[in-house]
Amino acid sequence: MRLLLVEDDKKIAKTLQRGLQEEYYSVDVSHDGKEGLYLATTNEYDVILLDLMLPSMDGVNLCKALRRKRVHTPVIMLTAKGEIEERIEGLDSGANDYLPKPFAFEELLARIRVQLRTPEQGGDTLQVADLVLDRGKKQVSRGGVPIRLTAKEFALLEYLLRRKNAVVSEGMIRENIQSLDEDSSSNVISVYIYRLRNKIDKPFDKPLIHTLRGIGYRVGEDV
């Protein structure tokens, strides 16, 4: 999952980036409004975290500009201004959620999860066939049997499940799963896919993770 954090306070930005990365999000940070807008329109993010008071362009205007450019990435506004009028202004400018500072980090995580929910999934769970991933509880099970995954495997599986039935390249995975970047040996992703297969597909009848040689991977039931 790839997030963009636009926050002018360098310390807060750094801290949040670290905390989110530890949750296996890939986080880009910008301290400037215009730069933030540029990043938000050129890269694809799953959620944008936006501070309101920013140099060169404030959060509300950034959000409006984003929506004008038909970028509909979910935006969560983070701001020390907690007045109702300001919340309304923020939400009216096209933001999806509004979190007043100071906030609990857990709440920020929960709100990011809300924005990541797709319409057909009611809660924090993702499902393909009988494979179920619960992001809130950090649990994975297949056919009711719990499967133990490491945090990195979990992040990878989540990414694949969110794009179920679509083909995902190794590059896309690398860009979106921050933690995989750490040891950047070229075959690190195939190693993780291999491990994931061992846990998810091997013990069961139907394989769900498919490799498309030279193109990438796809999660879904066989067509």
Binding site: D9, K11, I12, T15, R18, G19, A80, P102
Partner: protein
Amino acid sequence: MYKTLSIKTRLLLYGIAIQAGVLLLFGYSLYKTLELSSKERLQTSLKVIVLDIYDDLAEHTQIEDIELDEEGEYEFTPLFMRVSRVVEGGLQTVKATAFPEEVASVEPSKLPLRKVRFSQSGSYITAALRVRLAGEELLIETATSYKLLNDTLKNLFYSLAFITPIILLFATLGAKFLIRRSFAPVRELITRLRGIEANNLSSRLPLRGSEDEIDALSKEINGVLTRLEEAFERVSQFSGDISHELKTPLTAMRSELEITLRKPRQRQEYEEVMRSALEEIGTIEEIVHNLLFLSRAKLQRNLPKERVELGTLLSQQCRLLQDQAQQRGVALRLRGVGEVFVRGYERLIKIALYNVIHNAILYSDRGTAVAVTLGKRGGRACVTVSDEGVGIDAEHLAHVTKSFYRVDRSRTRHTGGSGLGLAIVQKIMEQHGGKLELESQKGVGTVVTLLWE
């Protein structure tokens, strides 16, 4: 008790009292006038008759010959006449018309000669005249009953006693109506004012366009409301700013601590986080400290101003900031001209000097210079701090002395502080009867002038 009555009730009571007084006075004088004038008329008539009888007596040689009933020509009833001879030890009636018994005769010796005297007994009024005629002393008396007059007066009294309360009643009702009418706008005003609370200070009383006292009052109240609203706005803006200002370091601290606690970490990491939290606490402390300083109405209570030498203070503050200037690559130079004395508070002047020099260093680019000059302008002590830094746009220049106002609102904690510095300087200079002047051009530099009394 009296003080607690409403103006309406008091007006009404005054009105009733005044009307009652006027009516009583009117009734009394009417009664008295009538009484006196009637009595006088009676007396005049009696006197005339007495004198007539005297003339009559003078014409007759024989006193017994006079005819008293001749006097019937005076259409005057009841009329009693008596002529008596004054003899040793009393009176001897000569001629009389049924003179009523109950009228006591006057003691003739007490009467002056040839002067008509009046007396009253019972409901009779008597005129008496003592004369000497042909060697005899005579007493002529005429009397009448003023029972009739009394009856008339009594009737008048009764009708006044009856009519006065009625008039009073109607007058009171009328007054009450008028008072109610003229107080209706006041009542409306009160109802409207009652509805005004801290959260709807923007509402105003409507003017009726009548330009009367009520309108004048409404206008005044509206003026007060406007001023209150502005003050309230400032206060809530200020507290909003305070909370915003405090939330930023709190957010940094909270996120950092929470994220650190989510999993076990190296000792070194914990130390780093604690140091960083301490830094944030420092920021919060500074804001709170500055706020307390600003919110004090008087910066120095009950202390007399002392003689302060600015030159020494300036070089002291420059020395204090020299390190920071060097780190930022800014050349800080002090150009003084000997000693300049002002009356004031040393502690506060130090803070003011520190703040403006610190700003100059903070908002300057590497390789530029900050010049601090001490001198006099128009006989007043004057410190100027000029820099070649980023400068301030004209649109911001008027506002930078306001609390929490920063030109670049977002670059809070990395350049400068919370935007309280110049507000504090301004307040200090005001307290010294001096002022803070700012001149600036964006991209060229800023000149800050502190001018003493």
